[in-house]
Amino acid sequence: MAETSNKSPIDSDMIRCVGLTKTYPRASGNVRSLRGVDLAVRPGEFITIRGPSGCGKTTLLLMLGGMLHPTSGQVRVSGQEVYALDARRRAQLRAASIGFVFQMFHLLPYLSVLENVILASTEPDATVSRDRSRTLLKQLGLSGREDHKPSELSAGERQRTAIARALVNRPKLVLADEPTGNLDPENAGEVFRYLSEFHHSGGTVLVVSHGSMAESFSDRVIHMREGNIVPDPGSDTPNTEAQGG
């Protein structure tokens, strides 16, 4: 029997943003980083956003993650209007539903690998949180590295730690900003393989990436230029609408 839902198509999207703009005032004049971006992402999609430096990819990603107020437009994540929430509830949404992976890893240098993962955990039971973190680290090939400091890890290991941290709360969405920017091809492949595993388990992934490797893991590639989503070179229309997950 088919499953029925009262949700509108908009509510059933993992991400939907409409008319997103971002303008930075500068002494030399306003800089328009985003110029009215519309985007829909279905749950379970793996999307790569590509484009030249300064085209607004990171700005878009930070807005989707509730980290950067748009100048205008709306962002809905899991049916919630992100910027209609107050700061506390937006922080709760981030903690519970969104995992971040950054190019520079942003691991706290004074915490061990395990502690860096636990830091992100919202699980109130410390033992459960620790066990979950250990399991994730094991899955990511970091067994035996739990007590090491980030400075004692290779770049690939640091990024895998960051992925474990992003996944510790079982988020619905992972936003990754150039996650392989500092990695060699072998480690980059490893990172995408782990993100792909998350995707295959039902998670939604949005990756901002310069490299072509991400595309081979993606359901859809979105191209950006000068603050807009543009058609990819082999197509006439921008690839902004959600596809089946």
Binding site: T59, F100, M104, H106, Y110, G181
Partner: protein, 383 residues
């Protein structure tokens, strides 16, 4: 992960910043502990110094012939000895007068020459003030002799001196003062009364005025008004030069501490604040990350203010220890007269534990707010 755990781990990681901040607060606490511990000694030292300048108030019988008083150096009239007790018992007298000493002084023929035989009572101070007696106490049957008396009569400490029909032991031959002190013989009041046959009589009460009167009032006017109420049968003379010298001595010390204390606090607060700002700058990406992980403003402010509180607590304990060592070792070198009276006050540790963390947190407040308001998008896009 708990905030305290994060604070401790970060402190261990950024040891230099933490140690420098700790040192700033610790030095401040140590200096204040040293100051407060030695402040009492300093006050006593100042009091001793000003006492050595001399009593600056002379209370004599109202009907004294003042021409004769200035010629002789003392009143020809006497008052009952109870006058000093009556004066001391008068309510509020110690707000204006302090260190009351009953005196009986007369010229006395000693081996063909006059000396000024001077009897001194023990000093009376306000019971509540617990002030130490300023005048030197003279034991019964002993005398202190002036330089000229000792020279003329070839007397030394330990010799015997016959006054009337009583023999007194000389316990001190004073150094040359260049004043009429050189021809004085000091003895206990009761002994002098007996030698002079004037039992129960005095002709002067020496005192020191309370300097709190000098701010915006004419002190002599206030002192006379007070005396008129307490002892209408007496009059007061102020030794203006001595009074001014005392006031200057004490006010200089008070102004010095009044200037130094806020200066020290401002320098320390600035030091802690700058280090906290550097700490925030150093942790910009960490703050951005915590925001991305869903940590709120309270958590981020807690990390910085909690760190400041931890610095304050550790600095309070360490600063108290250092301050105590300084006070007990350096204090006696500075305050030689009252060296033995320098004592450690345990209560100051409690105060240090309250004030130092609060002070440290206040100095870190602005940097903590900077951290809270830091735009995570800016710090995270710095990639």
């Amino acid at each position: 992960m708990g905030t305290l755990s994060l604070i401790l781990k970060e402190a261990c990681h950024r040891k230099v910043n933490f140690a420098m901040s700790l040192m700033a607060v610790m030095v401040t606490v140590a200096l204040f502990i040293t100051y407060l511990t030695t402040a009492e000694a300093s006050k006593r030292e100042t009091t001793r110094v000003t006492r050595d300048i001399g009593f600056n108030l002379r209370i004599i019988p109202r009907e004294t012939d003042m021409d004769r008083f200035w010629t002789d150096g003392f009143s020809e009239l006497t008052m009952p000895e109870e006058t000093i007790r009556k004066f001391a018992d008068y309510e509020g007298v110690f707000m204006s007068y302090n260190h009351l000493v009953a005196v009986l002084q007369q010229r006395f023929a000693l081996l063909g020459r006059d000396v000024i035989l001077t009897g001194l009572s023990p000093t009376i101070t306000a019971a509540k003030q617990k002030k130490q007696a300023m005048g030197f106490e003279i034991e019964e049957g002993t005398v202190h002799i002036g330089f000229q008396v000792a020279e003329r009569l070839k007397l030394r400490k330990g010799d015997s001196l016959q006054l009337g029909d009583r023999a007194f032991s000389i316990v001190r031959a004073m150094v040359e003062s260049g004043t009429e002190e050189d021809i004085r013989v000091y003895a206990r009041l009761s002994d002098v009364q007996q030698v002079l046959g004037m039992e129960g009589r005095i002709n002067e009460i020496k005192a020191i005025d309370c300097l709190c009167l000098t701010a915006d009032q004419d002190p002599l006017k206030v002192l006379r008004a007070e005396l008129d109420k307490a002892l209408p049968e007496a009059r007061v003379i102020q030794m203006r030069t001595i009074a001014d010298a005392r006031a200057k001595q004490r006010q200089t010390a008070e102004r010095y501490f009044a200037f130094m204390s806020p200066l020290l606090l401002v320098v320390c607060a600035g030091w802690v604040c700058v280090l906290a700002v550097l700490n925030v700058r150093d942790r910009r990406s960490e703050i951005g990350l915590l925001r991305a992980l869903g940590h709120g403003s309270a958590r981020i402010a807690g990390l910085f203010l909690g760190r400041a509180l931890l610095i304050g607590i550790v600095a309070a304990v360490a600063g108290y220890g250092i301050g105590a060592v300084l006070a007990l070792n350096v204090g006696p070198e500075i305050f030689k007269v009252t060296a033995k009276a320098i004592q450690l006050e345990g209560g100051l540790l409690g105060w240090a534990l309250l004030v130092a963390p609060a002070f440290s947190a206040m100095a870190t407040f602005i940097p903590a707010m900077l951290a809270v308001t830091l735009d995570p998008a800016t710090t995270l896009r710095a990639d």
